[in-house]
Assembly symmetry: C2
């Protein structure tokens, strides 16, 4: 359980997106996803299962076709039986990119958690595929997954409900719509209950590109906030009652904007694009 | 993430105990722990960090000495710095058995989660050691760990709060004091949020002996209840509001008493000691 020091570097890429990514103008994030998935020769599978909207699959399929991809497929299992059906899962044959939509991450995991479809996604990723998830889809990249919670800047008891996600990035707890929905408190609370994990809060129209060697780059309009408990000195998370605020001393946060490169192996910046050491 | 099909069978043993194990009469469970840890030649480390009582370490140390073990040590780090200190961790050198006390699993994990001490426990276990945990200590054997929750037989929303445990049994979510504190609802709720895991509810004075090949045996006075979602047909866990009851159709439970052998690889009984097929 050396969560940060995976001995197996592989060519797969993860892209948690904070939701509300630009879909009409420059489409920087979706364009980058397509590029990383081999551009016009990409084989992309859209998973709209988290969404309750009828047109989610069509929306993203059209965008990826507009960006030049010929082979765009949809995998939307209606239940766990289909998510375990080898014939159904042939949709993923040769996939170079998998895009998981927004919606409700608990709905998504209720259908695909622990199924052959989940294992197929892992195999595509490990083989060098790109797995992007926006909003609920970003959360589901985590292993210890935020299901839902309350807004607010400071951690407090019972602020966040957890489930399990796909576990593609088992060492990270990923949150989304991060600044826009005031989620620092809930992510900090989640991490205080999981001191072996690192928190990653992704703003809207922002993404983290996480490579198989555990290094990452920020792209898009907003920030990625990293919550790091490696220097935690004190917390009363275990004894705080009711919905009261939780003490936590020594929480480190890192706010990174587009262009910054971060190394999750040692929790340090790789290269400072433009800043001063203070 | 083939949680049930670990390719690496190893000689380690886990013993989640449901709390309130007999400490004065026959001491069947604690005696079995000592036997599995090499009997009188065992090197046992007691971890009392979950407990707020001052005499927990002394209590268990005396019991293990009474059972004939000469080498009983205590590892009770006062903070995360000590839990990362190689000199302190030499307590674990040559350990054949590790015993994690009851108390509060969140307190325990706040101190040792993600530290070198956690990795040391993993190494002892993988090398063939026995790791037993009672009450809070049993919960901490899980990876996706129940932190606290409400009582009740049926699953309901916001019934259970989750954190991360040691992850020695990453495929199981372990609960304790199970029948005595009416915890079927909270364990079912936890598992509905983690459909890739199996729930294990351990009664008081009862233990599961889980071998490195993922087979297990029940010992002690009560039952072990296994909650298995492999045949789940329907749930509305994602859309249930407030603290309302959650629908779940097709939850399988298995109630096993002392002597029963269960295979967690295929979620089947290995041998029926005394029962009728119905």
């Amino acid at each position: 359980v050396e969560l940060f020091n995976a001995s197996t570097v592989h060519p797969g890429i993860l892209m948690p997106i904070g939701g509300a990514e630009d879909r009409k103008a420059n489409r920087l994030i979706l364009r980058r996803f397509v590029e990383l998935a081999c551009g016009t020769t990409a084989h992309i599978v859209v998973i709209p299962t988290a969404s309750n909207l009828p047109d989610t699959a069509a929306l993203y399929s059209q965008i990826f076709r507009d960006l030049g991809v010929h082979d765009v497929r949809v995998a939307n299992p209606t239940g766990r039986q289909l998510a375990n059906d080898p014939d159904f899962l042939s949709i993923f044959d040769g996939a170079t990119g998998i895009f998981i939509s927004g919606g409700d991450q608990v709905k998504l995991m209720s259908v695909i958690g622990g199924t052959a479809m989940s294992r197929t996604i892992h195999r595509c990723y490990r083989a060098g595929g790109v797995v992007a998830g926006t909003s609920a889809g970003a959360s589901a990249i985590s292993e210890h997954m935020i299901a839902f919670g309350r807004s607010g800047a400071a951690p407090s008891q019972r602020m966040v409900q957890m489930g399990t996600g796909l576990g593609l990035a088992p060492h990270l707890v990923i949150d989304q719509h991060f600044s826009q929905r005031d989620r620092l408190g809930r992510l900090t609370t989640a991490i205080l209950y999981c001191p072996d994990r690192v928190g990653v809060g992704v703003d809207e129209d922002t993404a983290l590109i996480l490579r198989g060697d555990n290094t990452a780059e920020v792209i898009g309009a907003g920030s990625v906030t990293i919550i790091d408990l490696s220097a935690l000195e004190y917390t009363d998370v275990h004894s705080t009652k009711g919905h009261n605020p939780i003490n936590a001393v020594g929480v480190r946060t890192h706010n990174l904007r587009a262009g910054e490169q971060f190394n999750f192996n040692n929790l340090e910046l790789i290269e400072v694009v433009e800043a001063i050491a203070v």
